[in-house]
Amino acid sequence: MRNSSLLAFAFVAPAMLVLLLILGWPLVSAVILSFQDVRYVGTEPHWVGFANYIKVLSGSKLLSSIGLSLIWVVANAVLQTMLALAAALALNERFRGAKVARTWIILTWIVPTVVVVMIWRWLFSTSGGMINPLLIQMGIIDRPIGFFASPAGAFATLVFINSWRWFPFITLMLLAGMTRIPGDLYEAARIDGANAWKRFTRITWPLLKPTLGVLAVIGTLLSFNVFDIIWLLTAGGPANGTRTMPVLIYETAFKGYRLSEAATVSVIATILLLAFALITARALDREEN
């Protein structure tokens, strides 16, 4: 028994050590940094108590970024899940090429973010992009529109691009949930004369709900953390309309050179995420029981 514990620790320790050093310790340093006044990496710190928190909480930047992050997370979760559900239902059917389609749907996720950004910056651009001419040809608009010109437009466009990148990942997870639904359930329903819609609402949906719940949580956390797509496309603009929390953290640290303030926002973001994770974990646990 003692031996097996020792062995288990030997197996787990290296991985835990890496996580501790690369995620755990920096998190502690961020907390320490938030109580100090440091502007650049390497300058001598001095303690300032809650001054950074008071400054950050009394400014308008933090509140607006929390609000934008919230809308961002909800909008992405809704769009991603809807796209993924439609895709998963279709790919779960048997048809010629289904296997190939199931493998290659992930294409948008294996491509570097920078490339995703590049593709859509070109497609949405007013000079040379494909979207504007296409919409004009279809008669939906009569002159090119600047998708990144207004805060709301830029925000919506970013939600689309981010969901485009992530929905295949959710699709595969949903397919995983669907393959676990026993086929004879559908056979029995078919014999009882249930149509496709009934089979979906009575079998697929209820049995898929736990998977959807877990995925909504994962999707929410992943969306919250999205930084590179937003930064590379709009850098938080126009008029700070896309400055979510991660963007604010990066901007404060590396453009404004106020490391301590950035660390303070980081700590607040971590607390918010942790609270969300704990509340949803409890809710999911309760649903299971």
């Binding site: 787990v12 050093l21 961020a30 570097p112 590049m118 593709i119 497609l123 995983a176 953390n225 660390a263």
Partner: protein, 275 residues
Amino acid sequence: MKRSLAVNILLALTLLALVILVALPFWWVISGSFKLPQDIIARKPTFFPHSFTLQHYVKLLANSAYTTYVGNSLIVATFSTLITLALAVPASFAFFRLKFPGRRTLFRIILLAYAFPSIVVLIPLFGMFTKLGIIDTLPSLVIVNVAFALPFSIWMLRSFFATVPKEIEEAAVMDGAPPTVILRRVMLPLIAPGMASVGIFAFISSWTEYVFASVLIISDDKRTVPVGFAGIIGQYQIDWGLLLAGVVLAVAPVVILFAFIGRWFVSGLTEGAVK
């Protein structure tokens, strides 16, 4: 199995929408990269290109350190993958099979680490790596990539261990084999698809990572593809042909890799995950 006409029509429409959504942007980019500059910015989009040229590719390879970036990315992604596997396999075996105090708590912490906002550790890590003197080196990126790939890898592998029939393992235990031997001789061959999936996950995560690679790497000759690519965007603001050629070359290596082992990854995700 027979489907009704309505369901078939719905299925066909959904598949068409999927193809338009996923494949069409890539088709536009690939075909665009071979078009003459004036055709790229033509007012009317053409599905099939009217011109063909390799000038953008020639210009890209001649004027930028693109091959260096690809080499760096290959080194970083390969080492990240190997180290992630070396750490994740024993850890998830321990989480799944061995009993030890604090197992549940540690596993919860690993799940939390998966959702961790990476931007939070960017600032302290920058300071830490500067003090250690490993800033602007490829190993610093490997360390970061491993830390970010580990939580999901351990989680995913754990469900693969769960698919191994208990009888096979019990037979080995009856034969008096110690856990290390059971892991190596019995489990590893059986979870090979899981290891392939985790390997692809780690490789792709490292290949696509941008934020840390852009902050921790300073010299141009140590940049990875995403950062080098972003640099090219900055250098030539409106040369779309060059950028499209860059996109194609940045995507090609992962797509080729995925063509060979992608189905392992997908079946791995669909059999192993969400448990």
